[in-house]
């Protein structure tokens, strides 16, 4: 059965017009008085129909109907416009409609609309049509609905057809846009992925570096919570990395002052960095700070806390820190040494200043030549003492910095010994000490450093003189062996008490019994002597009994070659640990 449309009845407005004309004809061209009400009704109906027509046009919405039995149907004016039909009088049928469908869409339309027609089922389809008037391609949306009669039998399709070309175009544009956008997003995503890979590599590298640096490193966010801590930081603090990360720095790592009092958060350097945004670093003017380990032991810490900014905003701070226990010990030793050195220098300085003052204030009319000579002598001696002290300090400094230079030459040790004894003679005489020497002249030649060996002899002999009571005995013996020379310095002095015998070569050490005899002394003499002997490739030892006396024994190699060999071996031996 072929559906069809009666074009003459396609518009309601048109129909109304027709009826009006018919009625007028029946009454000889004049409207009938008896049917005024009907006329009014018709007017209303016409107005309503016109409005509907306008609405359809505005919405690009047309109506259609198709009778199942006759295969004929009707279409509204808007459909005529939509399809760009020339005014025709023929009946509109499904077949005719198909002639307007865009060739590409034809199979689909036949399948859906034809199928729905046969099955008497509602349908919806979107397809293109070619406008008859201008060949323009339009997109339409068609809906068909089943209308049943009183018996419930489907009698016709009624539906709408809407020109959705504009929407479709927008949709297409939107799709294109979406596709373009997808492309951009894709590009960006892959760029991001690349960046992420690079970042990951960078991160891995940075982490490897952080893990391996010798200092502890902690990153704390601006709330003071540890976000990163390297292995070294954990090791230094005696904790696991997990015990640090995610915890507030202030609570996890206790910082103390010298007295062991815990610093409050606002007192801590990290707080200053996080609030002030400026780097804080330990410097000598700052009080010493300690970090407390998990086991409650502590260590002096040196740190640098640097604020971290992201786009100008503070996001946290990095702390790099280390244990400076060893450095502090060295510092302490150094400052002790400096303090001792300046203390030692004060005495001769005071003496010089005092005798200069005495000379200055002497009564000019009183030519006390003898007094003047005495004062000048005092000054001279004090200057000598000062020079000796300074030499000692310099030697210690050279020993400690390993810059003690050795100049090997042929040396007659007997001659050097005589010279040293001559210098010390006044002191020997003053204490009425008896001096015994035992060495053969001309037999005591050896290759060594003249100045250094002189320092060794001076130190050992002056100690012997200093710590031997008046009328005691001191002795110097030099004996030659095939490859070595043995120097022995003996005294009948105070000796070294047994419990301090292991200490006497240590820098700054002074035995208790010695302090009671002489209040001043550097505690450097034996340290210097031992350092030099080792440097010359020799050995030093002693035997001592308290209040009986001491024997120092120095054994030195005679040959230059030997010295060089042994020097190399002992060069890096440190005995001040």
């Amino acid at each position: 059965m072929e559906p069809g449309l009666d074009l003459t009845h396609m518009s309601l407005a048109h129909k109304t017009q027709e009826r009006k004309r018919e009625a007028a004809n029946r009454n000889g061209g004049k409207p009938l008085r008896g049917i005024d009400a009907e006329a009014r009704l018709r007017r209303m109906l016409r107005t309503s129909a016109d409005r509907l027509c306008d609405a359809q046009e505005i919405a690009h919405l047309g109506f259609w109907e198709l009778n199942f039995d006759t295969g004929e149907g009707s279409i509204s004016e808007e459909v005529v416009r939509m399809l760009g039909l020339h005014p025709v009088r023929d009946t509109f049928t499904y077949e005719k409609y198909l002639t307007h469908v865009a060739p590409n869409d034809l199979p689909q339309v036949k399948k859906i609309v034809g199928g729905a027609f046969s099955a008497r089922k509602p349908f919806e389809i979107e397809h293109c049509i070619v406008r008859e008037k201008d060949g323009d391609l339009r997109t339409v949306f068609v809906v068909g609905k089943i209308i049943k009669n009183r018996e419930g039998r489907p009698v016709r399709f009624r539906g709408i057809i809407q020109d959705i070309t504009k929407q479709h175009k927008i949709r297409e544009e939107f799709a294109e846009y979406a596709q373009a956008l997808e492309g951009i997003v894709g590009e960006r995503t892959s760029a991001l992925e690349t960046a992420a890979t690079i970042l990951e590599q960078e991160k891995a590298r940075a982490e490897a570096i952080l893990e391996d640096i010798g200092d502890g490193m902690i990153f704390t966010n601006k709330k003071g919570v540890i976000e990163l801590a390297n292995r070294r930081a954990a090791d230094l603090l005696g904790r696991k990395q997990e015990e640090l990360i995610g915890h507030p720095q202030y609570e996890t790592i206790e910082m103390q002052d010298e007295e062991g009092i815990a610093l409050s958060w606002p007192e801590r350097p990290m707080f200053a960095v996080l609030t002030g945004g400026k780097r804080v670093s330990t410097d000598p003017s700052m009080p010493v700070r300690y970090y407390v380990r998990k086991d409650k032991s502590r260590f002096p810490v040196a740190f640098t806390n640097t604020p971290v900014f992201l786009h100008g905003e503070l996001i946290g701070a990095i702390e790099v820190f280390r244990d400076v226990t060893r450095g502090k010990a060295v510092d302490r030793a150094k400052s002790e040494f400096v303090s001792l050195a300046s203390h030692q220098l004060r005495t001769p300085l005071s003496i010089i200043s005092m005798y200069a003052e005495l000379l200055k204030r002497m009564d000019v009319t009183n030519f006390a030549w003898e007094d003047q000579r005495l004062y000048v002598n005092e000054i001279g001696e004090a200057v000598g003492r000062m020079a000796e002290l300074i030499n000692n300090f310099l030697n210690v400094s050279r020993i400690d910095t390993q810059t003690l230079s050795v100049e090997i030459e042929e040396v007659d040790i007997g001659k050097i010994a005589e010279q040293v004894l001559k210098e010390l003679a006044p002191k020997v005489k003053a204490k009425k000490l008896s001096l015994e020497t035992d060495y053969a002249k001309r037999l005591s030649l050896l290759s060594t450093d003249k100045q250094l060996i002189q320092i060794v002899l001076q130190n050992l002999l002056s100690n012997a003189i200093k710590y031997t009571p008046p009328k005691g005995k001191i002795g110097l013996a030099i004996a030659r062996r095939p490859d070595t020379i043995i120097i022995t310095v003996t005294d009948t002095g105070c000796g070294i008490s047994e419990h301090q015998q292991t200490e006497i070569f240590k820098k700054l050490f002074r035995a208790d019994n010695v302090k009671a005899i002489e209040s001043e002394g550097t505690g450097l003499g034996l340290y210097i002597a031992k350092s030099i002997v080792l440097r010359l490739g020799g050995e030093i030892s002693f035997e001592s009994r308290e209040n009986k006396g001491t024997v120092f024994r120095v054994e030195l190699p005679t040959g230059e070659k030997q010295i060089r060999e042994r020097e190399r071996e002992t060069k890096n031996i440190s005995f001040n640990e």
């Binding site: 004060r346 005092m354 003052e357 007094d371 001043e520």
Partner: protein, 129 residues
Amino acid sequence: MTKTPKRVKRVLIVEDEPSIMRALATVFVREGFEATTAGDGEEGLAAALRDRPDLIILDIVMPRMDGMEMLTRIRRDGGAWGKSVKAIVYSNLSYNEKHGEAAGVGVKDFLVKADTSLAEVVRIAKETL
């Protein structure tokens, strides 16, 4: 008007550094004092108890017995004189190091060698007496 001759003031110098001891003795004698000397705390204690000087100039760090110990004993063993004898520390130690301790044994003044000339020591000694 009769002029009572001023008694010569006696000063005891306790100092283990002989050169300084001699310099101090010289300047005090020049200024009209009678000066005796001792080379350490033990000697100083003996000399003080024996001579009962008007003033003691003492060093702190000395062998055998240090200055503080010596002064403590003088205060304890020297009777009324020992409790009242005036003492001035003349030392290499800085004021801060031993000042508290020195004040505890009734030291009148604490002079640091490097900062105080002989003339100043004598002036302060005279003021103290």
